[in-house]
Assembly symmetry: C6
Homo-oligomer: 264 residues x 6
């Protein structure tokens, strides 16, 4: 019958989603400092709350931070930590060129599927892109905004549990859209800001020699630092392939693109 | 014939609506203070007016208050109190991704159905969402606004009674849209603002020991308080699961999220 | 043939329209003061002009006044007074959720039908709603505005007579839209503004005792009054059902909602 | 063949158009003063130019003046004076509720038809309405504006003659739209502004006695006057039906609606 | 096969286009002064460049000047001078009431056809109209703008030659749209500004006697002059038909419409 | 099966793309100065990074510079240098008159095709045109912007390599649209700004004699220079065809169009 057909339509996308999660986490989560630990701790608490049988069974988390800060990877990590069997990725990458309403239908379908599983986790990646946010105007899809505002607060059916993890690099835009209050909690994904943070990443990479690292860390002492983990890994990828002057190139790039700025 | 077929199409959704009402009221209405009583008293009067055979047989109420204040639960309570047999929920949760006109058609259908019952109650939940209100722009569905403005003032057919209960957390937006004057009455759903309000809720929850509560209430004396009942219950759900430091966590959260602020 | 089929399509909606007119006038027209008489007198003159065989046979009247002032009832009264056999109601209540163009087609059809009758009267109720006027933006249906601007000035075919009665509670909006000059005459529907006005209505209602009324009227002497007849009747409906303190409740309501304000 | 079928499709609407022209001129053109003569003289010259075999064979005239000034009647008069056999009326009254593109197609068709006749005259009545001009916004149909801007300057095929007569009561709007320069000439249709103007009309109407007229004209001496001929005729129609006090009513109306204002 | 069918579809519209060109040039190009010679000289150079086998084979010219300056005629003259066998007119007159996309498709087709001919010339007349430029708003067709911006810079296939001649009376609008830089060169089409310019045209027309002309030219000495050749010819057409007072009428018109202004 | 059919649909457009690349490079890359070398060096490094098996396998480059600076040619050069077998051109020239969504679908298809090849290079030419950027308003296609923002950051499937080379002459517009941060690197394509730059190009062209060149270079010493290589080549094409005064014409043109400005 109808309900049966409908249920059968629900094939929890373990395979596909698991693969994507693994992709997000291909380079793992390096514990480069306290900010990383804080996100994971707070996340663990919220996951526990989501899983508990008290309350309405809905927890929604926003991971916000600058581009390249590691938001998507941490979102994937939280999804893994939850152990919820039904995991679904809702990402703008899969909806390039979709009309507003096709996009909304897709989002709605993902949530509808989740409501039919006992414990579900939905990762909504890059919310500002999902909303088609264009800063000139500004423009955005109000249809999608309304859909998210409603779905982020809609309780799953009695007895079901739902964890929603969203990521964004435009916290202030979501704030203007009055989306922030729709989340159970908002967690900040921080950039690397201290030389100790660098130390952990550089040691782990094995790109530089001990003496090169010492020189770098000494130099960084006098600088204000702010760079996302994804950018650091990218720069290391690049210099790794040079025969010489790796460290010089690395520092030059950091300075040129403004990731490190001399303290005044 | 046509009228017959049409009538048959009307299956007062007792079942479904009743279930949703119960969902809204799953945690009941805790009488935590006078503001709660006021809403219920005024509501009772308006229900009486709606039911009376004098006048045009239409009463429309707006429950407005900040997010988490308990608007939806109180709206459901009023619907129950009316005892009207035909109850229908008109909620944005059921219309995610609908086009403007599909939404209007749905709303219109709900009212058309109601006009065919002797005594009907319609709950229109979260009006600003139903209007697709987006603060950047701002944007909203004028088609839906017009539909509501007309339907909120349209008398039911002779002899029929209609009670409409709307909820919103954006009173000022509805004011700008000149919707407020379309209601028979506007009732304010208040946040908890006094330590006595807290006392009732905490005692009822059984989460803290007597001494913990005393400590909390003493501490709150010096604070300005404003928090919705749904948020309080959520925080209690969370700390309930901790092994220790429940009270500390509870107070920290209240302070961090700005629900209590030290008096100057 | 075609013309015949077309003519047959025209079933002057005596029945339906008459019923609606009666609904508008269910509570009659209470002659509570001079402003009422003025509207009816001016209306009578304009009706005479419409009926006369001189001139182009078109008279269009705008009844404007604040919400609840009694505009729709007075419009219906004028239609009745005209004695024109073909009466048609053009009301936003019948077009909830219509697209702009469906609305225009409907309006156009009503006028086209009227042109085929020797003497027609069209009531266009609540023009600002028909125009989908939304104050944020502001927004309105330009298609409908254009249609009305043209139809309000379009002469009926030679020998036919047409009386158009419009109502609005947003005179200033229609003014901005340059609609006012399209009317033959604009009549103001006034609120009750004097205690004598109240006296007529209260005596007619029989809700209060003579002494209660005296007390009220004495009290009102020191107040600035402005309230629509529909609101007065509504409040009376409400207090009528109370066992005691009717007068106190009545006055409290008048004061709370700002209908009476102490003179300074 | 195609061209033949096409040509046959062209049934110069002598009948219909003639009837409409007669309607526009039902009350004739009263020569109430010099402004009337000026329009007719200038019009005669322009018609001559249109008919002459020199030049590109296109003359387009804009008749502009306040509402009720007599623009449409004078436009019809010019069309008659031209003696051109193919006359077509392009009026918003015939396109109520049309979409932008349907309107444009209709306009285009009228011009296309005209190009196929040796001598054509097109009356484009009430241009601002044809453009769907709505003052709030403002809004207008750019598609229609573009169509008119092109068609007003497009020469008819070699050897064909085309006279276009447009009317508007919103000269400044057409100016903003840069339409004015598209016309061969712009003629002003004036209101009545002197008591002598009134004298001609009143004498012609036979509504008042000689002594009444004298009284009126004497009184008007001290006033600033500005009223359209259509309005004057309308007021006369109205007072004509009164048994007494005709002149008083007439003057009261003139003063109340601001058509005559005391000189300071 | 496909390519064959496609090629057959291309019937270089020698006939039609030639006829239109002749229409544009029906009154010839009067060499009334240096500005005319300059445009023709510069045009000759650019045509040579377009025809040469060096370079990418694309030259695009914008003829800009006030209304009636003679832009279209000079554009047609350049097309003739080129001697290119494939000439196509892209004019708003042929696209009245077209949708944006129909217009773009038409434009695209004209260019696509041109790319298939060894030497083509495209006249794009009245660009601001093609762009549906409406000054209130302002409004324009961005789709058409983008199409023109791309097509004006798109090289024809290897070995093919393309000359594009555009005309506009709204240089500043095209400038704001950043279209000017898309042209190889922008040539100014000037108004008549000196009495000598007038002399050439008047002598050529034969409308006035020698003495009349002398009087006129003497009078003009003290005036600032600016009038398009098309307007001059139009005024001459008009006065030509008068029996007397030709010169007076001519001068009056020049003054009234502001084409000549007394020097201060 | 489906995947098979899908794969077959992918016919890496070696032929077509190669031809277009050759067209872009028909006049080669003249090494007129350091700015040219810098772009090629930086490009080489980025190509190496794209090809390396470390990292996510995605490098995206933006070539920005004023109109005629040589952006497209340099983009084509980089594509050639990469040696990647699958090269695809995504250019507005191929999408004239496309709707937003057709354009997006086309872009998406190009990227989807690329993901299926081991090593792909996509040239996205003239990004501001692809975005339908119109400066009045301003207007742009938000759908296309969102598509590009997502695709420029979307990693190819595991093991695949993708190099994206974009060009634009409106860096500040892309900046406002927050597109710049989506690129791995932004390279500036410079105009010629020194007389030495001119020297290289003039010598290579063979248009002028040695003495003419000396004169020019001496003259340029006192000027501020800024001109794109494409413009220089165009002017040379033009003067090349003159019999005499080539150098004078060349200098006049440079001055008239503001490419060289006297130092103050
Ligand atoms: N502590 C960490 N936190 C997050 N990511 C880490 C950490 N350590 C290593 N990584 C790696 O860094 C990369 C972070 O990239 P990710 O896509 O998550 O960043 P992002 O903030 O989502 O970027 P964008 O702003 O582009 O969306 C991943 O490859 C991840 O495996
Ligand atoms: N006195 C009370 N008033 C309202 N709700 C109460 C009260 N006591 C307990 N509750 C419970 O508090 C919760 C209030 O949640 P509800 O959804 O009604 O809030 P809301 O104001 O509608 O929130 P939102 O702003 O998200 O729409 C319900 O679970 C309800 O059972
Ligand atoms: N003198 C009166 N004038 C108008 N209405 C009267 C009068 N006396 C009694 N009534 C009654 O008052 C009511 C007026 O309601 P009505 O709907 O006409 O008001 P309205 O101004 O159209 O309201 P709204 O602004 O909501 O459209 C009607 O029930 C009418 O029968
Ligand atoms: N000298 C006159 N000029 C114009 N109309 C005249 C004159 N004398 C009498 N009339 C009559 O006056 C009326 C003018 O009405 P008309 O519809 O032409 O005015 P209008 O300016 O077009 O009005 P609107 O602004 O509503 O379009 C016609 O009935 C016409 O017959
Ligand atoms: N020297 C001249 N230059 C241009 N046109 C001339 C010249 N001498 C005579 N003419 C005639 O003048 C007329 C110019 O009209 P044309 O349509 O070209 O003007 P335009 O500037 O395109 O007008 P518009 O602004 O309406 O498009 C043509 O009939 C042309 O034959
Ligand atoms: N060093 C150089 N760099 C770039 N182009 C060069 C160079 N030397 C010669 N050229 C030639 O100059 C021309 C540059 O034209 P190209 O179309 O690349 O410019 P563009 O900046 O893309 O122009 P547009 O702004 O119109 O898009 C090409 O023909 C190219 O072969
Ligand atoms: Mg991310
Ligand atoms: Mg709620
Ligand atoms: Mg009403
Ligand atoms: Mg008129
Ligand atoms: Mg022209
Ligand atoms: Mg380029």
């Amino acid at each position: 019958d109808f309900m049966h057909a409908f249920e059968n339509d629900v094939k929890p996308a373990f395979g596909a989603s698991q693969e994507i999660l693994d992709g997000f986490l291909a380079r793992g989560i390096l514990p480069w400092g306290n900010p990383v630990r804080d996100v994971l701790d707070d996340g663990a608490l919220l996951i526990q709350q989501a899983a508990s049988s008290d309350g309405p069974g809905l927890v929604s988390i926003l991971l916000e931070g600058s581009p390249n800060a590691g938001k998507t990877a941490l979102g994937a990590e939280l999804a893994k930590m939850s152990g919820f069997p039904f995991v679904k990725i809702c990402s703008p990458e899969d909806m390039v060129g979709y009309t507003e309403s096709a996009k909304c239908m897709q989002i709605r379908k993902i949530f509808d599927d989740a409501y039919r599983s006992a414990q579900s986790c939905i990762i909504v990646d890059n919310v500002e892109r999902l909303l088609d946010y264009g800063p000139i105007g500004p423009r955005y899809s109000n249809l999608t905004l309304q859909a998210l505002l409603v779905l982020l607060k809609k309780n799953p059916p009695k007895g079901k549990r739902l964890l929603v993890v969203c990521t964004t690099s435009r916290r202030e835009v979501l704030d203007q859209m009055e989306m922030l209050s729709a989340f159970t909690d908002v967690l900040h994904v921080s950039n690397l800001t201290k030389s100790e943070h660098f130390k952990v990443v550089l040691e782990n990479s094995g790109v530089f020699s001990k003496s090169e690292m010492d020189k770098l860390l000494k130099k960084l002492a006098g600088y204000k630092i702010s760079i996302g983990i994804k950018k650091v890994l990218g720069l290391l990828d690049m210099v790794k392939q040079m025969k010489q002057d790796k460290m010089i190139k690395f520092i030059t790039k950091l300075e040129d693109e403004g990731f490190i700025v001399l303290n005044v």
